[in-house]
């Protein structure tokens, strides 16, 4: 037993160090080359921070040549809208489906149904939506983009909330019912307040979906002024010749909110999925 455990411990350490290297080295390369002078990038560039010659020129160029702040704002607006659509919709569906599934059998199909939604490839939706939105004035519109993005966010949100609602003891609702509370009052006054961490996870998830998205923006947005940040940067690459330093500066600027979300969100997402794994067992 002793030897086996020691070998396991060592291989665990080796594995973790390698994983850390694989994750961190590319990120350091990205950040470092955004500050490195051009000539350095083409000479023997192996290790980030191998020199202290730093320049802010790449950042100045990116910010001067693009509508960076406008695009940033667009992304934030779409993300906010998507959160506002996603959280209430997902909580209503998931709550009704879990609460009444023993009484109304068809609601049991909720699990497979959310999996089916998760399965639909983005392009299958993006193409028809670009035509449909054209008819109702949502094409090339930030609200339209938020609606489309919520098709990515909803399935997993439903799943997280389902896992959570299944775990809420029924006594809580029954006690409130005896006190004469209506179903809406129970949902709004009791269930949602105790679900705050999980709702936060769902909201963060919707935000992440928008922040990452490229496909729906590509299919649904035409005007430069309406570009979210991902589309703007991608468009630039095709239109102008940028140096690697400038491109890495753009990538770094796009990733700053990601670093912040990653650090803040991890705890909540973990909580959300703990609920799910209690639910699926």
């Amino acid at each position: 037993m002793g030897l086996q455990d020691t070998i396991l411990k060592i291989s665990k350490l080796v594995f973790l160090s390698l994983s850390l290297l694989v994750v961190v080295y590319p990120l350091l390369c990205m950040v470092f080359s955004s500050f490195a002078p051009d000539k350095l990038l083409f000479s023997g560039f192996l290790m980030p921070f191998s020199t202290l010659q730093l320049t802010f020129r790449h950042y100045q160029e990116v910010l001067a040549k693009t509508y960076f702040f406008q695009w940033y704002m667009n992304s934030l607006i779409v993300a906010g809208l998507c959160v506002a659509i996603n959280v209430p919709l997902a909580s209503m569906i998931a709550y009704v489906a879990t609460r009444y599934s023993s009484k109304y059998r068809p609601l049991k199909l909720f699990g497979p149904f959310s999996l089916f939604l998760y399965m639909i490839p983005g392009v299958v939706l993006a193409l028809p939506l670009s035509l449909l939105f054209g008819y109702i004035g949502l094409f090339d519109n930030l609200i339209g983009l938020a609606i489309a993005d919520s098709t990515f966010a909803l399935p997993l949100s439903l799943w997280i909330l389902w896992g959570h609602f299944v775990n809420i003891p029924k006594d809580l609702e029954e006690a409130a019912m005896v006190d004469g509370a209506s179903s809406w009052q129970i949902l709004i006054r009791i269930i949602l307040p105790i679900s705050r961490p999980v709702l936060t996870a769902v909201g963060i998830f919707a935000f992440i979906v928008v922040w990452l998205d490229y496909l729906f923006a590509l299919a649904l947005i035409r005007t430069e002024a309406n570009y979210p940040i991902a589309l703007g940067i991608n468009w630039l690459i095709r239109e102008y010749s940028f140096t690697w330093g400038e491109l890495m500066a753009a990538a770094t600027l796009m990733s700053i909110p990601s670093f912040i979300i990653g650090i803040l969100a991890f705890k909540y997402l973990l909580k959300g999925f703990e609920m799910v794994s209690k639910g699926v067992r």
């Binding site: 983005g122 909803l154 690697w244 990653g262 991890f266």
Partner: protein, 289 residues
Amino acid sequence: MNEETKFILTALVPPLIFLVFVEFVPIFYSLFFSFTDRVIFETTYKFVGLENYLRYLASSDFINNLINSFAYGLGAAILQTFWGLFLALSLYKHQSVWATALCVILFIPYVIPYVAVALLWTFLLDQTAGPINKWVTFLGISDKPIPFLSSPQLAMPTVILVTSWMLAPFAMLLLYAALRTVPRDQLEAAMIDGAGALETFRHVTWPWIARMFYITLFLRFLFNFGKFDLIWLLTQGGPLKATETFPIRVWLMAYSEYNYGGASAVAVVSLLALMIPLALFVYATREKE
């Protein structure tokens, strides 16, 4: 109508209308136009029956797309889930601040936008400036830079690796969450009984997380199978269609060939190709009563 029925109707119907509008109307729209010869920027069209399907299924693209989609979907799913599992297993027993910090750092690639990930890896793998190719020649693995993204043989494995780099943290998160629900007292009891780490895993930990593991694996497969962004940004389906999956074909047909009818038919085919694994999965994980 009693209060409860009213509640169910008011809480369920508006969200369902939204879902129908954004999920089901588009699918039926695709289904409808897959039987027409619609061109993307024109509104007139005529019905052509099964022609779009027959032409696509008879072309070499169909088999190529099918193989590539399953290779990408399965390859990335397996890599992500196992990497995620090993990461989660290595970290979950340590309640220290360091373990949590490590988890957060390892989680970061998942929240970086596709465009930034694609830019970063195009740079890393670049043949003249890319750090990875500099390492390759520096360490003597190959005397010439390796054309990771522009060789038909290497493009698919490279795209799978980049996708997994970005998305493995999500599998890690799911499995880490599952591992945290394993009851501590059972782990301690196993340890007191003198069970080794492997035995503890097999008899205590694994039974608790097995279901979540399979779900993670399957969800990752569904997700990658239909994923468009990273492949498009890295290779646009090339070189020589080596990374062309169903979504890429749909996009190319719609926006390069303007063949909306044909693109819709491919979209429907890709959806049907996913129905079989989905049905199997739902059957295998159904609730036993």
